[in-house]
């Protein structure tokens, strides 16, 4: 079972929080903080698994995380999940996000929190892995989006805004910052 999925940025700001087991609101926030504290301390060249901690229930639980540019994707799972399997599931999820948002970046996650949730629902359902095939997931999401379009285009507006930001050559942008950095570069499956 997956117990929780947390996405937060390099500063520990939550971007998507999904618990599959009930925790009180303040406990949730504490879990997020502690997880961030644990994960952010770790270099990029160490392993992607963290064990134990008193966070979500002791020694049976593991944190499996990946770090993409500005975001941490953390899955909290129990011993019935395969570590490497989950690691690749995170990759699948991020690749799916990339496909759905065309070059996904942190902003997409902020402005389309609901959409990200809907995509996640197609990957993990109630703590169980539902689908691991990216095309299937995208297919399901698109099926729902088609209906969205037929209902009227207002919710597409922020998407337009974000892509406008992305494609714009903002003169006031400091030169030394590469705009591409916003994107969660999805590596073509790095060697871990």
């Amino acid at each position: 079972m997956i117990k929780a999925i947390l996405i937060f940025n390099n500063h520990g700001k939550p971007r998507l929080i999904r618990f599959y087991e009930y925790f009180a609101e303040d406990v949730q926030q504490q879990i997020i903080r502690e997880t961030f504290h644990l994960v952010s301390k770790r270099d990029d060249n160490v392993c992607n698994f963290l064990e134990g901690g008193s966070l979500i229930g002791g020694s049976d639980y593991k944190l499996i995380y990946r770090h993409y540019a500005t975001l941490y994707f953390v899955f909290c799972v129990d011993s019935s999940e395969s570590e490497l399997g989950i690691l690749d599931l995170i990759q699948v999820f991020v690749e799916t996000l990339d496909k759905c948002f065309e070059n996904v970046c942190e902003l997409d996650l902020i402005f389309h929190m609901d959409k990200v949730h809907f995509i996640l629902q197609e990957v993990v359902m109630g703590g169980m892995v539902l689908e691991t095939n990216m095309n299937e997931i995208v297919g399901q999401v698109e099926l729902q989006n088609r209906m969205e379009k037929s209902e009227g285009g207002f919710s597409a507006a922020p998407a337009r805004a974000v892509s406008a930001v992305k494609n714009m050559n903002l003169p006031e942008m400091p030169r030394n910052i590469n705009i591409g950095d916003i994107n969660i570069k999805v590596p073509s499956l790095s060697p871990f």
């Binding site: 698994f49 134990g52 500005t70 019935s80 399997g85 902003l107 919710s155």
Partner: protein, 1174 residues
């Protein structure tokens, strides 16, 4: 980075306004979210954020309350509310609106509504009830998306009680034409199974259908269910092995459509799932394991591509191979795989490799040998996770020879870590190792000192408790004195230094030890020195109150010399005015003691310390006082939890039916035997009449304090004497057995220079960089004792941890070997290992008999035990060693031929006698049972009995075993029927039953020796449970020989559940009341009520329980009922368990009490099961 975001965001408003022109005014809500996010990003402090969100929430609140807000706006508002909740701010006012949105919105709005609901609420929230109808409607909708949404929300959280309302509709979805719906329905049902397993009992056949679904996706989803089901109960799903193997073979062989490939690996997650299922199925089951060998091999072979996900499959494959019944070929390949993992430069793989290694060294410690250098490198790895995993691995391969090095490494890690979790974990491990393998006293005390200083106050409380017990335990010989004296010396020097940094727990241990044992050094030092050190400790500011009371306790024990008395008076004066009642009490007591010389002489006799003393823990001397007080109208004593219960439930639990007999109950002596089972400290401190001591405190302070209390409270308490009493199970009467008497200590040479290291250690693996000398040396000291000729005492799960400080440097290796082998030969894991152990055992037998070294469990003893078993089973002619060879021989034979398969035996009886029986038998009996019924011994035939359970039979059903339980009043009689269906007789029969939790004794009249052709022999055993447990597995081995044939053996197992050992306990209501008060272990739980048409729910439920679990219903009064039963334990004995049941709303509140710790828990489990079955 955040700069970039901020900059981008600052550009947003203009963009949004641009957009708003295009979007024709629809954008106002979106820009609100934009504004909110922008606002938050710009903030610098948490305080400002809070202010902003508060404002935002206020505006949301206003909007949702307004009647003019459309559903569409509501949808956007919900997203904002979700955002606020995510940041940790409560938006509880919006929950009801989220539900409204889900109920009334169009599809898209509904989707957001459902999302918000699933994020905001939890399963127990009452709001969810409002959603049930909506979910039901959506489940029946023709719109696929609506159905999907409903299924998703149901699987996320759904009120348990409402499952029946939607279950039929969800079930229906299993046959839906759309694959995605079927898949989601399967997962939703799985979720139901997890939260309410009994609700979905009836649809197991539908799960099977899902497993056979034509769409692989649905099949994959159903594996979630099967993984769980098989994990819980592998026996019932053995028939699925074939299907699982077939599925895996097809997946591995690439038979699935190409969409299922992930980086050209066919359905990797599916493979992982299947491998896990196979591991559960094949665990300790040779027959099943053999079915899967081929496919496991193929998986290993196919997974040799170089991608992350293939490693995941490989890892799972390796784990499965090591879990199922071993096959040497596969084990070799798996070991190679582990090697690749460990050696991999990729850190994740290294981690998993170490994990796998940790898992497999429990079976074969030698597997760690080839990786010594890698392990050493991992010890210095920059990643703490890797380091910790390595230490875990080392922990598993620790033996008496490498313990010092490994413990040193662990302490090194502990000094650097600041993470509580690893500290607690590691400190426990170090303490365990130190206790188990300590080479000498000095090392032991020093290690424990480090443990206490590093573990500080976070460590498990049983570490100091065990340590103190260890010091106190044992006969008072020279060696124990040495250990104690060394501890005292070491603590004296610690106290002379800086004490500010020592954790409180450590100080408490120090004060206790000094109080108890500093007399050991009295001859050669100033008697006041200890007292002065303690007084200094007392005065330091960082010493906590709890520690101070320990110190005062120690001082009380020490104030015998004039110097100490003067010091004590001084201390008393200061603390007798303390605000803390405990301290004040202590100080007063010390004061009285210091003033009264006679009293002192009586309670602190100079020579009396070594005597074993006894406490009248039942406090019977108080009975008079108590009954007097009760007669005068005092309230009867209530235990703390009882009082709490009364507070919680306003309608206090009515104890009326048995309350009447209370005054008698306390003075009656029936209570006294029960009380000895109790945890004494609470009791003593509560009832010894000392005021002002909260129970909580005495809990915290733990058991050691008791001793000191007993010392000085003797004027009030009639103490026959004092004994060390802080054992977990009450009084520690059991001394170390004579066989374990510590032998005089011989210092072990330091492992670094140990000449014992086998030659194989010096041959390093050729791969890898040239290791420097230091590492080589470390390796040889770490891995000493691991070698093909040196069996190792494995720790961890496999072996119950002995809590004894073992000192047995003499004959180390031989005793180690015999221990290892006797342990593992029970579990009989691998053919290779078995054979190895077998030869080892024989070898060590000879070694031991030559050397004549009598160690804890010498091989002779082991063989003696085996011999005992066989003789008790009626085969007195078999010799010990011969017997083992016999047992070993056929085992491997069977492994080769796959002879023992669990197939229901077919009874092809041709005996005319039984034919006749068949006609005479009552119609109710199942015909299959019949042939065996006639073999029931006459004295048992009238008693209640179970059906005949087939145990095993060999291939051609020439030999069949079956079992039957007969429920005698005072015992459970287990009958094993051995049916020989061939013409030839069986000889050299020996039946051996083993189970740790059971006490089994053979009561067969005639010794079992041979079984003639076409006849049946019965073996009778009486079985009782040593400790209450829900279910136990009994392992049996029948060895026999056919004429002209090889010796053979048949293995079988039989599970016995607690309910077979329960008998009704007939007591009167009054006795029940007495017993109730005297039992200390209790448990409460709500159970389901059974409803029938013509009975009260309570009566119906109790009757159901009575019928299934052999309980005795003592009385039913109104909505309450009391029930009693006993657990069989030896002839004429039984452990009672009382149940108090009460109807509360729609459930039955059950309160169980018993003098034995595990009984209430196990019984409750069976009650639950019994009720769900009806």
């Amino acid at each position: 980075m955040s700069d970039v975001v901020e900059k981008t965001l600052s550009a947003l408003p203009s963009l949004l306004s641009l957009d708003s022109q295009a979007g024709a005014g629809k954008l106002s809500p979106s820009s609100k979210l934009g504004n909110l996010i922008k606002g938050i990003t710009e903030l610098t402090s948490k305080h400002e954020e809070e202010k902003l969100i508060k404002k935002e929430l206020a505006s949301i609140k206003e909007q949702v309350a307004s009647p003019n807000t459309t559903m569409r706006q509501m949808k956007e508002i919900m997203v904002r509310a979700i955002y606020c909740e995510m940041l940790g701010y409560q938006a509880s006012f919006s929950y009801i609106h989220a539900i409204k949105l889900a109920q009334q919105g169009s599809v898209l709005e509904k989707r957001v509504g459902y999302l918000a609901v699933s994020l905001f609420l939890n399963e127990t929230d009452e709001f969810l009830l409002l959603l049930v109808n909506t979910v039901l409607k959506d489940l029946q909708s023709t719109n696929l998306i609506e159905v999907c949404m409903a299924l998703t929300v149901v699987s996320q959280m759904f009120p348990k009680d409402m499952i029946p309302a939607i279950l039929p509709v969800v079930e229906e979805k299993l046959t839906h034409p759309k694959e995605i719906i079927r898949r989601k329905a399967v997962l939703a049902l799985y979720k139901f199974y997890l939260i309410a397993p009994n609700q979905v009992q009836h649809i197991h056949s539908k799960f099977r259908k899902a497993l056979c679904d034509k769409d692989p996706g649905v099949m994959t989803a159903s594996l979630h269910i099967y993984l769980q089901l098989i994990k819980e109960n592998p026996e019932s799903y053995k028939d699925l092995t074939g299907s699982m193997v077939t599925i895996l073979r097809q997946v591995v062989g690439g038979k699935l459509p190409l969409d299922f490939n992930y980086h050209s690996v066919p359905a990797p997650w599916l493979q992982i799932q299947l491998l896990r299922i196979l591991a559960y199925l094949g665990k300790e089951d040779q027959g099943t394991s053999e079915v899967m060998y081929d496919v496991l091999e193929e998986s290993l072979r196919r997974a040799e591509m170089n991608h992350n996900i293939t490693y995941a499959i490989l890892f799972e494959c390796v784990k499965t191979i090591y879990t199922v019944h071993p096959k040497s070929q596969l084990l070799e390949k798996a070991a190679e795989c582990i090697g690749n993992f460990v050696l991999s430069p990729k850190i994740n793989l290294k981690y998993l490799g170490l994990k796998a290694l940790t898992y497999v060294v429990q079976q074969d410690a030698n597997l760690a040998l080839p990786h010594q250098m890698t392990i050493i490198e991992c010890l210095d790895h920059s990643d703490v996770i890797i380091k910790r995993e390595t230490l875990e691995l080392l922990f598993r391969i620790t033996n008496a020879q490498n313990v010092t090095v490994i413990v040193e490494k662990m302490l090194e890690f502990l000094r650097l870590t600041c993470d509580d979790y690893s500290t607690i974990d590691l400190v426990g491990k170090v303490a365990e190792l130190a206790e188990k393998y300590a080479p000498d006293n000095v090392w032991f005390i020093q290690t424990m000192n480090s443990v206490f200083s590093l573990g500080g106050d976070v460590m498990q409380p049983d570490i100091p408790n065990n340590f103190l017990r260890l010091l106190a335990e044992g006969v008072d010989n020279v060696e124990d004195r040495q250990l104690r004296l060394f501890a005292v010396d070491s603590y004296m020097s610690l106290l002379q230094g800086e004490t500010a940094k020592l954790p409180q727990r450590f100080l408490q241990v120090i004060s206790w030890v000094l109080g108890e044992y500093s007399y050991l050094r009295e001859e050669d030092s100033d008697p006041g020195s200890v007292m002065r050190l303690l007084a200094r400790l007392l005065d330091q500011r960082h010493t906590s109150t709890e520690t101070r009371s320990w110190v005062l306790g120690a001082m009380t024990k020490l104030c015998s010399s004039p110097v100490s008395v003067a010091l004590a008076r001084d201390v008393c004066e200061r603390y007798s005015g303390s605000l803390n009642t405990v301290l004040r009490q202590r100080a007063q007591e010390l004061m009285i003691l210091s003033q009264d010389t006679k009293l002192r002489a009586r309670v602190l006799p100079a020579e009396g310390r070594q005597e074993s003393l006894e406490v009248d823990s039942s406090l019977s001397f108080l009975d008079g006082y108590v009954s007097e007080a009760l007669a005068a109208g005092a309230a009867p004593y209530k235990s703390p939890h009882q009082r709490q219960e009364d507070l919680v439930q306003e309608k206090a639990l009515s104890l009326e039916p048995y309350g009447l007999s209370l005054p008698v109950s306390l003075s009656s002596c029936s209570i006294t035997d029960r009380l000895t089972e109790r945890r004494s400290p609470t009791l003593l401190s509560m009832s010894s009449g000392l005021s002002g001591i909260s129970t909580e405190l005495s809990h915290q302070e733990g058991r050691p304090r008791l001793v000191s209390r007993c010392y000085f409270s003797s004027p009030t308490l009639k103490l026959d004497g004092v004994k060390r009493v802080w054992g977990k199970d009450g009084y520690l009467a059991q001394q170390q057995s004579a066989g374990e008497t510590p032998t005089p200590l011989v210092e072990l040479p330091s492992p670094l220079l140990s000449p014992q290291s086998p030659p194989s250690q010096t041959q390093k693996p050729s791969s890898g960089p040239e290791p420097d000398q230091e590492k080589r040396q470390l390796a040889s000291s770490l891995f000493v004792g691991l070698g093909s000729h040196n069996s190792v005492c494995l720790m961890g799960q496999a072996e119950p941890v002995p809590r004894h400080f073992r000192r047995k440097p003499r004959g180390e290796s031989s005793s180690g070997a015999s221990e290892g082998s006797s342990d593992s030969s029970h579990s009989s894991r691998s053919a290779a290992v078995d054979n190895l152990l077998l030869s080892n055992l024989l070898e060590s037998t000879t070694v031991a008999s030559e050397g004549g070294a009598a160690t804890t469990t010498t091989p002779q003893q082991t063989s003696q035990r085996t011999l005992d078993h066989t003789t008790s089973n009626g085969s007195p002619h078999v010799e010990g060693t011969e017997q083992r060879v016999e047992a070993g021989g056929p085992l491997s034979l069977i492994r080769g031929n796959g002879m023992v398969a669990v197939v229901p035996p077919t009874y092809t009886q041709t005996d005319p006698q039984t034919q006749q029986d068949l006609h005479q038998a009552p119609a109710l009996e199942r015909p299959r049972d019949l042939p065996l019924t006639s073999h029931l011994p006459a004295e048992l035939s009238g008693l209640a009995r179970s059906e005949f359970t087939p145990l095993c039979s060999d291939q051609d059903s020439s030999l069949a075993l079956s079992a039957c339980r007969v429920y005698k009043e005072d015992a459970l009689v287990l009958l094993i029927f051995i049916s020989n269906n061939t013409d030839s007789a069986l000889h050299q029969m020996a039946l051996q039953l083993t189970c740790k939790e059971l006490e089994i004794s053979c009561i067969s009249g005639s010794p079992l020796k041979e079984v003639k052709g076409h006849s049946v022999t019965v073996c009778l055993h009486t079985v009782v449970m040593k400790r209450a447990s829900v279910q136990v597995e009994l392992a049996g081995l029948l060895s026999y020989q056919r004429p002209l044939g090889q010796p053979q053996a048949a293995q079988f197992s039989l599970s016995l559940s607690l309910k077979h050992f329960l008998r009704p306990l007939t007591v009167s209501t009054g006795d029940y009341g007495k017993m109730w008060l005297s039992f200390s272990h209790d448990l409460k739980q709500n159970l389901r009520l059974v409803t029938t048409e013509h009975q009260e729910p309570l009566t119906a439920t109790l009757d159901a329980l009575k019928g299934k679990l052999h309980l005795h219903i003592v009385d039913i009064i109104g909505s309450e009922g009391i029930v009693a039963c006993r657990l069989l334990q030896g002839p004429g004995q039984g452990q009672p368990c009382l149940l108090h049941c009460r109807v509360h709303a729609d459930s039955l509140a059950v309160w169980l009490r018993s003098p034995v710790p595990d009984l209430p828990d196990s019984l409750l489990y069976h009650c639950q099961k019994a009720l769900t079955e009806t």
